[in-house]
Every structure is written in structure tokens, then in C-alpha cells.
């Protein structure tokens, strides 16, 4: 596996892991006609694979390549959990602001146990935790508050109390990966509930507002800190309390 490296827009990403095949330049690189899968931040421009965003280029199995970059504007991607706010109600569903260019559609039936007779009733301004079910550049995104396969809520749905903050998409992704240092450090001494939306929103609920604010500040502070610094920062915040 190639060592991750920093790329800038226009940088050519070498997808030729076997040397000496420079003449081949289409998506199928090798004699075995490997199919390359290009993730976010990469595009085929003319004959080469180039970065389109600044970030770290990763590869897996010599066939998958992607660039992780830290953005703030969400672009919906299928399957990702998001936190949104209901901004409008239509006959067939709600429009939910999830921070992307277009509001997401949340169908009335996309809830656990919802039927034509038994619909959820969400007021404008309600915060929901949902999963992106449809996302492509040509359509408005769609989200759902249940797992369509099992029909169960599985944690999705209205977030009726607590507090939601915004953060960078990169931080949200780190928080989502279960062992984020800041959450580990906080979890050791503060009982709390947390929901992470990959659209850069984090919902927090604790026993008291003061603790919620502490958790919110700790999460925001952790943007540029490594694991050790995170533990130290959380310790200092808890001592100040």
C-alpha cells in the first residue's frame, strides 16, 4: 500500500503500482485490466488521475484511491448519518436542512412504524437524526429516519432535547469513528449521549446544561489536537468546572 501523501489540486496520483507501465493510461491500468475506483477528491482528467482537492491521498488494494480533505460544506452521500432541522412540511414529507446545497426530503413514511394513517408529526424547527438514502448531484437528497431493511428506527428519529453544534466535516468523521480521543477522554468522566452527523453537526445531551456546554467546547477545541493534547484539554476543562 502506498504511503499516504499530501496532494493539491492538479497533482497526478500514481495509480501504476507496478513499475514500467507508463504507456497505459486509461482506467484499466494493468494487463489484468484492473478496475480503479476513484473516491472523493480525485478525477480522471485527460489521461491521468488527478487530485481535485487538497488533502491526503489514500489507497487500498492498489485499486481504490481517495483523498480525505477537511471541508465545511456538506455534500450528501448515500448511507451517511446526518443531523438536520425541519424547515418545511409538504403533503408527502418534510424538507430538512442538512447543510448541503439543497434541502433533503424526508418522506412521511420513512419512520419506524409509519403508515398512511399513522404519520409522525414534526413541528418546524425539529431536529432529526437521519440517514441519507438518496444522494446524487442531479437530485435533491433524500433522508430516512429508519433502516429500510429492518423497518426499525435504530437510533434515528427526532432529537427532542439536548443541543446541537456545528463542526468541520473532518472532525465529524473523526468523532464518528468510535474511538475519537476527545470522546474517549470525556466519556471516562462525564455521562453523556452523543449523535454525530457526518454533515458536521454533533448532538449532545447530558444531565446539566453546564456539562453539555463543556462537552460542546471540548469537541470544538479538539479540531487541531492529537490524542494526548485532547486528554490534557479535557482534564483542564473538567478542573475548571
Amino acid at each position: 500500500m502506498a504511503k499516504p501523501r499530501v496532494v493539491l489540486p492538479g497533482d497526478i496520483v500514481d495509480t501504476h503500482t507496478h513499475s514500467g507501465s507508463d504507456d497505459e493510461s486509461t482506467m484499466d491500468v494493468d494487463a489484468e485490466s484492473r478496475v480503479l475506483r476513484l473516491g472523493p477528491g480525485l478525477a480522471q482528467i485527460n489521461d491521468s488521475v488527478r487530485a481535485t482537492a487538497a488533502g491526503i491521498c489514500h489507497s487500498k488494494d492498489e485499486t481504490q484511491f481517495w483523498v480525505t480533505s477537511n471541508k465545511r460544506r456538506y455534500v450528501a452521500a448515500e448511507g451517511e448519518p446526518v443531523i438536520g432541522v425541519v424547515v418545511a412540511r409538504h403533503a408527502e414529507g418534510y424538507r430538512v436542512d442538512i447543510g448541503s446545497a439543497h434541502d433533503a426530503l424526508l418522506p412521511l413514511l420513512a419512520f419506524e412504524g409509519a403508515t398512511k394513517r399513522n404519520r409522525p408529526d414534526l413541528a418546524l424547527g425539529t431536529t432529526v437524526y437521519a440517514r441519507v438514502s438518496v444522494a446524487n448531484s442531479l437530485m435533491d437528497p433524500e433522508i430516512e429516519c429508519y433502516n429500510a431493511n429492518t423497518g426499525k428506527a435504530e437510533g434515528y428519529g427526532e432529537l427532542s432535547e439536548g443541543y446541537a453544534i456545528k463542526c468541520s466535516l473532518g472532525l465529524a468523521r473523526r468523532l464518528f469513528s468510535s474511538n475519537a480521543p476527545v470522546l474517549v477522554a470525556l466519556g471516562a468522566s462525564v455521562p453523556m449521549e452523543i449523535a454525530v452527523g457526518l454533515n458536521g453537526r454533533v448532538w449532545i445531551n447530558t444531565e446539566t446544561p453546564a456539562t453539555t456546554v463543556l462537552v460542546a467546547n471540548a469537541i470544538k477545541n479538539s479540531e487541531f489536537l492529537d490524542a494526548k493534547q485532547c486528554r490534557q484539554m479535557v482534564k483542564e476543562l473538567l478542573e475548571k468546572k
Binding site: 432541522v85 436542512d97 439543497h102 434541502d103 424547527g125 425539529t126 431536529t127 453546564a210 456546554v213
Partner: protein, 281 residues
């Protein structure tokens, strides 16, 4: 959608619940002012103020014009501010807010006679200096008024206009390279201290509100004071009614905050002057 749609229900509820227990969403105390950073220069009359994440840039410029007929011996000071899309993308209330900020700063500085407009006269009835203060909002994280006011007064004090000599009724304006430009005559330094009132009856109050607090506020109140502890202006445009006791309390807090802000302005100007002197050598 990007248009600001106001806070969500849980956000509003949380901000109010927390405030009821004396906790602010950014962890500050009720009467804590955010960190204030003032950077003067490099150009004359250029000051950038950072209040927490809020950032305002002030630029002062001048030109020679004919005075108004009814005030032949007075120069003019004009303020302009525009809350463009840089600081806040399509805020619906932006237009009303930006007009009110420019008007408020103008009232605060001009009508409290902070700038000696008679000293801006070159030849009575013929030539006066017209000052222009441009306020640029670079980042909007709440309380633009206080930041803009600091930027404006600091920029006016940092500004140097070309020197002028009048010879037999004819004014000679000296090139800054030939003769050192001169500072404006400033009587005093008014600064704004803003409060946000929240809750149904405005019973919850904070100083220096941040953007999320401004979104749920029921009334905004700004006290303008100078270093002599004189009230220069009070501003409360609509919102819930406030009792005299609340106004008095705010004014008392404003005295303390205004003192700290004025000290910060003086310190920044002093640093800038020292740097300029060092660079000139």
C-alpha cells in the same frame, strides 16, 4: 438551503434553559466580554478588530471638498458599512442590520462630537476635509456593533491626514513624503457595550452576545460610553420592554467594560506608534 433559518427548537430551548442556570453556550460567564484584539496599520487609518470570531476592518480616507453652505467652517465625517456576503451568506435580516449599524456608529461618533469637525476646516467656506470611514464586516460571530465601533474610533485616532498650510487664502496640501501627515483632533473615544435580553420578558441578560444568542434575543440594548464614564448614547430599537432597573444595571456594567475596551484601544495605538517609530529609523 443556506439562508439563515433561525435556530432549531432544541437550540432555542437549550440556550434559554442554560442561561436560566447562568451558563452561556460558549462557556462564558453572563458578564464576560470576549477577547478583543486590535491591529492598527500598516496603512494610516487602517484598523482591524477581532472580537472572539467577529472581525471588522475599518479604513479611513479623506479628501478636500467644499463645505455645506450652512456650515462653512466644518468638515464632514461620513460612515459607510455594508454587511456583505463575506461575513454572512444571505442573512435575511442583513440589510436592516447593516443600515442600523452604520447609522448607530455615525450617531455615536458624530453626534457625541468625538471628531472635531471644525479642525477639519482648511479655508472657511471654500475648502474643508471630508472624512470617510469604511467599515467592512469580515466575519460575523455576533455583536458587530461593538466591534465596528472600536474599529471606527481606533481608525480615526490612527489616521493621519496630509498637512496643510494656508498662504494668503490659498491652501497648499503637502505630499506625505515632504511633510509628515498630522493626526485628527479627537475629543474623546466613545465605545459601545451591547447587551442581549432573552426569555419572554427579557429577564435573562448577557453582555457581548454571540451569533447564536442574537438569534434568540428578545431585545438588544447598546450603551455607548467614553473613558470619562459619560454616557454618549443609548440604543434600544424595539423588542421587549425593559424596566429602569435593567437599564441601570446595564449602564453600570458598561462603565466597567468601556474602561477595559478603551484601555485596549490605547494600548493598540501605542504599540502601533512604537512600531512606526522603529520602522522609521
Amino acid at each position: 438551503m443556506v439562508a439563515e433559518i433561525g435556530p432549531s427548537s432544541i437550540e432555542t430551548a437549550f440556550i434559554l434553559e442554560a442561561l436560566g442556570k447562568g451558563v452561556r453556550v460558549d462557556g462564558r460567564g453572563i458578564y464576560d466580554y470576549r477577547g478583543l484584539r486590535i491591529a492598527c496599520g500598516p496603512a494610516s487609518g487602517m484598523v482591524e478588530v477581532q472580537l472572539g470570531q467577529t472581525r471588522v476592518l475599518a479604513r479611513v480616507a479623506c479628501e478636500v471638498t467644499r463645505p455645506a453652505a450652512e456650515r462653512p467652517t466644518e468638515g464632514t465625517v461620513q460612515f459607510s458599512s455594508e454587511l456583505g456576503t463575506l461575513a454572512a451568506f444571505s442573512l435575511d435580516r442583513a440589510v436592516a442590520q447593516e443600515v442600523s449599524i452604520a447609522r448607530m456608529i455615525e450617531r455615536v461618533i458624530r453626534q457625541s462630537r468625538a471628531v472635531d469637525t471644525e479642525a477639519l476646516c482648511i479655508v472657511a467656506g471654500e475648502q474643508v476635509w471630508a472624512l470617510r470611514v469604511d467599515l467592512h464586516f469580515i466575519d460575523h460571530a455576533g455583536n458587530l456593533v461593538d466591534a465596528a465601533c472600536v474599529a471606527a474610533v481606533a481608525a480615526l485616532r490612527h489616521f493621519r491626514r496630509p498637512d496643510v498650510t494656508v498662504d494668503g487664502g490659498r491652501a497648499v496640501i503637502h505630499d506625505p513624503r515632504e511633510r509628515n501627515p498630522v493626526p485628527l483632533s479627537i475629543h474623546h473615544t466613545p465605545v459601545c457595550v451591547s447587551f442581549a435580553f432573552m426569555g419572554k420578558a427579557g429577564e435573562l441578560v448577557v453582555v457581548d452576545p454571540e451569533a447564536r444568542e442574537e438569534l434568540v434575543q428578545q431585545a438588544a440594548f447598546t450603551v455607548t460610553m467614553n473613558a470619562h464614564k459619560e454616557v454618549c448614547a443609548l440604543n434600544k430599537a424595539g423588542g421587549v420592554a425593559l424596566g429602569p432597573e435593567q437599564i441601570r444595571r446595564c449602564t453600570q456594567i458598561a462603565v466597567e467594560k468601556a474602561g477595559e475596551i478603551t484601555d485596549a484601544i490605547n494600548a493598540a495605538l501605542k504599540t502601533a506608534a512604537a512600531e512606526e517609530a522603529a520602522a522609521a529609523q
